[in-house]
């Protein structure tokens, strides 16, 4: 057969496959009705195992592994189809509908906002980009920012989630899993660090540098250039500036934002000490209530997948099938489990797009745990 004939052959087989697939889906639908009537779960591990063994035997040695992959996708599709038939729209999809309906059209201008650190922290700069006149309350830890929002002391919380040089702020991802909060907006902030010290200090005298671990990691090249400098971590870059002022020392410097110089009466020893000029930090604004403002084009969720081969692949295939762009995939270990992970994902898609709702519906029924973290737009 020549290539044309081969393609005709493939088309013919595909037509048969589609016909057979539809027939199979019809049967799957009836099974769903049976399961619904008898109150049975969608997933039946015993049945799936038998099915895989049977098709593998039928396939023969050469194509056995391909057949297993193909059927894992087919059973997966069947399962989410049954899930949709039995459960209707997913809770997450309902939550999104309600949030869109109930959220005011305009993003609030005034709010009580929790930030970590002290005045001059990058969170403050991020917060002021989001809200016109925020009343900011500063807390000493990320945990307390979450707790403050949880307890209703603050309406919103601002948290750094990732940096273009130093990567993700893992603690935030772990906390997002502990609290059931919603992301309502994100801010991308160009972070330019300055080295600050007391009035009498000179760069050559600096023996110790204090800052947040993330900031230190963003300035490694600069720090390497200084000789014999001790590094001390503290909870926040603004807190570091405050510590330098309170110490009164001339051999201690802080890596902080520029506004901290004026706020804490420090002098700038060196500007733009970060390793790369394009150093960006992304902050998220969290709320206890799910709020979706017009223009939301990013959606985040966290999920726990079955701990077996191909789980992540099957989930990814759904993104691909629906043409949804995945912009972030972060895995974090699950506390108390043996190297099992949770996956955080950010996707780019308008919240009003039906494919996104479909994806969310599908995901909810094909993973062990699914949590919708919110849909939002980013302020640059």
């Amino acid at each position: 057969m020549n290539i044309e004939e081969l393609r005709i052959e493939i088309d013919t087989v595909d037509a048969e496959l589609v016909k057979l697939f539809n027939r199979r889906m019809e049967a799957v639908k009836q099974v769903a009705e049976y399961k619904k009537a008898n109150n049975l779960p969608v997933y039946d591990s015993e049945r799936e195992r038998q099915l895989f063994d049977k098709v593998a035997t039928l396939a023969g040695e050469d194509t056995e592994s391909y057949i297993r992959t193909l059927f894992s996708v087919i059973t997966d599709i069947s399962r989410s189809y049954q899930g949709k038939l039995i459960n209707g729209r997913s809770q997450a999809a309902e939550k999104i509908d309600t949030a869109i309906k109930e959220t005011p059209k305009l993003f609030p201008q005034k709010a009580t906002v929790a930030c970590q650190g002290a005045e001059g922290a990058y969170s403050q700069i991020a917060c002021e980009k989001l809200f016109q006149s925020p009343s900011i309350m500063y807390f000493n830890s990320f945990e307390n920012v979450f707790s403050a929002v949880d307890a209703g002391l603050c309406q919103y919380g601002i948290l750094p989630v990732e940096n273009s040089t130093a990567g993700s702020v893992n603690r935030i991802y772990d906390l997002m899993a502990d609290f059931n909060f919603s992301i309502i907006r994100s801010v991308k902030l160009k972070t330019s660090h300055t080295l600050l010290a007391n009035e009498g200090a000179v760069l050559s005298d600096i023996k110790e540098i204090i800052s947040h671990e993330q900031a230190i990691n963003q300035c490694t090249a600069f720090i390497k250039g200084l000789k014999d400098v001790k590094i001390t971590f503290c909870e926040n870059t603004a807190v570091a500036a405050k510590a330098v002022r309170n110490s009164g020392r001339n051999d201690l410097a802080a890596i902080s934002s520029r506004p901290c110089a004026e706020l804490y009466g420090l002098k700038i020893l060196s500007e733009a000490v970060q390793t790369t000029e394009s150093n960006y930090t992304r902050f998220i604004c969290i709320s206890r209530k799910t709020e979706i403002y017009p223009g939301a084009n990013r959606t985040s969720f966290v999920m726990v997948l079955p701990h077996k081969p191909g789980s992540l692949y099957r989930i990814m295939s759904k993104f691909s099938a629906l043409g949804i762009n995945l912009t972030k995939l972060e895995s974090r270990p699950i506390l108390g489990r043996d190297f099992e992970f949770m996956f955080y994902m950010d996707v780019e898609s308008s919240i009003y797009s039906p494919t996104l709702t479909e994806l969310i519906n599908e995901l909810q029924y094909s993973v062990e745990l699914f949590r919708y973290l919110g849909s939002y737009s980013e302020v640059g």
């Binding site: 009580t112 009343s135 309350m137 807390f139 000493n140 307390n144 707790s147 307890a151 209703g152």
Partner: protein, 333 residues
Amino acid sequence: MIVVLKNNSNPEKVDNLVKWLESRNIRVHIFKGVFETVFGLIGDTSGIDIQLLEGLDVVKSVKRISEPFKNANRQFHPDDSVLNVSGVEVGGDFCVIAGPCSVESQEQIIDIAKKVKAAGATFLRGGAFKPRTSPYDFQGLQDVGISLLLEAKKQTGLPIVTEIMNANHIPMFEQVDIIQVGARNMQNFELLKELGRTNKTILLKRGLANTIKEFLMSAEYIMAGGNENIILCERGIRTFEQQTRNTLDISAVPVLKELSHLPVVVDPSHACGVARYVKPMSLAAAAAGAHGVMIEVHNDPTHALCDGAQSLTPEQFLDVKQAVDKVLSALRN
């Protein structure tokens, strides 16, 4: 729960915190001292996350108060409370409350008022309603007694102290400067609650068989209603000793001052029941740090209608007052 704020905290942030606490049904008692601002939280604070409050940048420290009395607790109000009663301070300068056990007649009360004032008393006391052990004893001149005290106040300018026995009588005490709650009514909680709704200064006497904690809980009853003008009065407790009517618990003075910010005065007359012990006990009270004493003075103790045995003559009172002044001046130096 006590929340101590950092100096010069942003008022807007502090206000946010207060509003949030109030939204959780917690009353916030704000004490602004010279060096620090203290929030006393009253209500069910079990749901408040201490770590969250401690993590707030405006907060210096947070602690739970184990004692059941909150408003009266010194931790809520680190400085001594100084009350202004009709222009006279209580809790700051030493005050001397003097007068007869009962108001007997216009001549009697006005005569004593003039004499105690001349001797240096700062308040005039006198019973109009008398809680007597026997129903056959003199029960006091009641409303007439109050009018006579007011007349004495008019003539001498001394603010007056008189005892209340029934919440229904509160309207009669409209012009009284300090309403006394006697030892026997210290745990009359309905009366305390009613007095809590007024803004009158209350002189609360310790019950004859009550602990200091119970005493402070009674003050708490009044304060819980919003009235913070309270003077605590130690007047002797019942022990096995029979040589004196009660045993004056001088140690209650430093203990009360440590636990509470409220002014503490001592009544040596009722404690001893014997006139000749009043002077040494008054000196002891002053030396122990009391904010004042309350002494019974009668122009004719042998013919007094009530408690003559413990009453001093105006001359004896002058002697006590001068001796007390010496103790106070010795303490100051």
